[in-house]
């Protein structure tokens, strides 16, 4: 009985020790994996910030200005020269309504708003 207890204790201690060692090696292994991923991640982040900087620099007024000034005399256009391309709410709403109405009627009476095209000589 005593031997049995002794062996059980020894086995438990050995198992716990092995688990501890395994845990430590896993930590180190994961640290290596983490390190590798960090390097890749950092590299990507660095490239991203360099890219963003280069884009920012390319579209800066200084760059654009120096390119334009060689060919034309750029100046901020007056309000009367500006054309707004965004449709007004009323127009867009009216347009949407017409489209919906047209398609609903077409569906209901099976009348197409446009002639259907068919390929005659495939």
């Amino acid at each position: 009985m005593k031997l049995h207890k002794f062996l059980l204790t020894i086995s438990s201690v050995t198992l716990i020790s092995l688990l501890y060692v395994h845990q430590q090696t896993e930590i180190v292994r994961l640290a290596y994996v983490g390190e590798k991923k960090t390097v890749v991640f950092q590299e990507l982040l660095d490239k991203n910030s360099i890219l963003r900087y280069n884009i920012g620099r390319s579209v800066s007024l200084v760059q654009l200005g120096s390119k334009i000034s060689g060919s034309a005399n750029y100046e901020m256009p007056g309000t009367y020269r500006l054309v707004k391309l965004v449709p007004s709410r009323a127009v867009s709403r009216a347009g949407a309504g017409t489209r919906e109405k047209g398609s609903f009627l077409a569906r209901f009476f099976s009348v197409k708003t446009q002639a259907e095209a068919k390929t005659l000589n495939p």
């Binding site: 180190v28 390190e35 660095d46 910030s49 920012g56 620099r57 800066s60 007024l61 200084v62 500006l82």
Partner: protein, 549 residues
Amino acid sequence: MFIVFIIFLLFCIARLLFIQFFRSKYLSSIAKKQHSLFVELEPRRGTIYDINLKPQAVNIPVDSVYATPKETKDADKPNIIKQLAPILKVDSSYLKDKLYRNKSFVWLARKISPEQSEAIKKLKLKGVNFIKETKRCYPNTYLASQVIGFAGLDNVGLEGLERFCDKYLKGEAGFALFFRDARQKKLDIWEDMIAPRDGYDIVLTIDEFVQYVAERELDKAYKTYHAKGGSIIVMDPHTGAILALANRPGYDLNEYAQASKDQMRNRAVCDLFEPGSVFKIVTAAAALEEKRVREEDKFFCENGEYRIGRHTLHDHDPYGTLTFREIIENSSNIGTVKIAQMLGPDIVYRYIKLFGFGSKLGVDMPGEISGIIREPRLWSKISIAAVPIGQEVAATDIQLIAAMSVIANGGQLMKPYIIQEIKDKHGEVIKEFAPVMIRKSISLDTAARLRKILTGVVEEGTGKMAKIEGFTAAGKTGTAQKLEDNGTYSHSKFVASFVGFAPAEDPQIAIVVTLDEPHPVYYGGVVAAPVFRNVAADTLRHLRAESNN
């Protein structure tokens, strides 16, 4: 045999006890050194943005190259030198000197470009390694160079706002105690860590577009008139927020090592000059505020020559009788001096101080100077004929625009400022800078009357070239003679200036333009006024377009 064994056992026990009680501290420190690595964690230096959050100064990660001469074989060194020299653009002797040192670490080049880094990495040279660092970069190269300044190799601010706000921008370094493996390689496990505190971001009141326009127009005038220097400030007269500030000569912030001290000087804040006729606005304001004159009161302008003591004062055109309004519109020296004589030195001096001359305004930029205004008790007999027309006094551009803003905004002297707010990396505002009124200088009524008179300067007077298509403008021209070394006024060196605001009825911007020693033309109305016109036109259209959006 047993006794020997017992003695050996006792010796071992004694040794173990000795190590445990007397050597443990020392040995554990050695062990800790072997498996721990102390790393200083560099904080990110804060970004400088314009008012629309467009970056003006950023940090980008770059590589620095170092070598380990002790670990590199001598046979490999000539090859390393031969291959690295053309990429790093350095002389072979420089690399030779570095690589043949008896050291375990030497810098070969700090903060190289990504292209250089790629080229060196492809070579796969033994004993040549890289360390990641951050480099301060300025996407707009020369834009607002004297305002922003630059940070050096170790990311420490050396000039301009980079230096002035270094305590906010630099952040605080952190540290970490990383574990190392048997090969001394750093593991991604740390025993102890204090994270670095990144530097705060700074948002300026500068608008990149307005700054670009101001620089472009100033540069044109600077080159056309072969000026020695030039400055321009665009300001919101109601708040004192500086929308643009430029100086010439300028420099590329990314190549600051090649710039001279003269190019780095923020002339608009640091340089003094006799303002000349633009200073007449103070005398005019004093006369109206003290109710000593009305716009249509007439003064005889002595047909262009007026003797005061042994000094003869001239007008550029011989005027007979002019109204008060016409005196300012035509910039008559004699008329202005007669008004000043009527007021007396004490009143003139009081208004000069009320308009902010002779003392620092407290602008948040380094190097601001107070200017020179002498007290009336120190005036000579002819000072009353000099001070009101901007002689015997010295002022800065920032003082001139602040004074003109008093008239534009209804009589308040606002403190000019260039930092809008300081934020942390999460966007939380750490410090906010609100407009500050220094004092009420003149009444609303006087300011309105002066605005009309100064509109006349642009419509009918010396500032016709400042007229803006589609907008009204008001302002005052100045052509000040510079002092020669012998103390007499020069007949060939002038400072041409124009200070004004637009639109005249509802001012949105105030602008001061000065050009130092322009030639062959040197009149403020010809040299500086067109710069005002072009900058004001583009700025007002830009502001209008922004408010419409």
